[in-house]
Symmetry: C2
DNA sequence: CCGCATCCCGGTCGATACTG
DNA sequence: CAGTATCGACCGGGATGCGG
């Protein structure tokens, strides 16, 4: 497995597998899936950002996808879009409280990902070799 | 198999918000996104399941997608496939420890989803009305 | 600076039919 | 029972170009 971390037995009592609402989880997953949403969200959580800043900081994103993803996030109430009627125009995107909570909730998943990244890679190699 | 407690060894890690690795998160997201993965995983976590059982319990899934998703989950080391050479053939899928930990990590997200479901719905209505 | 419109391609998924 | 095979629709997303 991974590093020398402490193994702690944890009892999962909060949510019963039989009652976990698949649809509800799927809604979240689908909301933050897509190639760019998380990256944008992360930037916006660190503080208000402008369109062009995002275009630079979110590696590889196109103008089109930036616009589309921003609109969707705004629509879901995860981002607030503020237009300053200056010349040249200035638009800022800021994460809502809801988005920041979402980010917190993502930490659990991230931890899992980091711990098992190598395991998964190994599993794939083994699987592909066996087939 | 219907007690709500699962003992899962979990490694405790602290994550620096500023350093959250977008790619790593995306890997997880993409692994469990898709229409069926979570539903299948959930069933398998409750105990070993057979192909046809899944076909019935995962609402709306086709044979094809069930097979494909099972293969991917197996390849990633989240499911173990066991063939019993009986007649008729019998195949069981069981969640690995890694998958059970993943499930536990999903709890955070689920909480968020349940908490903000209405907020998001409201945000969408407001957005669509405004546009 | 900020964004929309158009075209197009590749992957995902459903429907349907066939098999060891 | 537990899959495979094939075909086609759909859609996310890249490239490019225009507009306020």
């Amino acid at each position: 497995m991974s590093q020398g971390n402490i193994d702690v037995p944890v009892q999962v009592t909060e949510i019963d597998p039989e009652k976990l609402d698949v649809c509800t989880v799927l809604e979240v997953i689908n909301r933050i899936s897509g190639k760019w949403a998380i990256g944008i969200l992360l930037e916006a959580i660190r503080g208000p950002v402008r369109f062009t800043e995002l275009e630079r900081s979110v590696e590889g994103i196109s103008r089109r996808m930036l616009t589309l993803t921003l609109r969707n996030l705004e629509r879901d109430g995860l981002l607030v879009r503020t237009i300053y009627p200056t010349v040249p125009p200035r638009v800022e995107y800021e994460a809502t409280a809801m988005a920041k909570e979402l980010y917190q909730s993502l930490n659990g998943l991230l931890g899992w990902a980091q711990q098992h990244r190598d395991d998964i890679a190994a599993a794939r190699v083994a699987y592909d070799a066996a087939s």
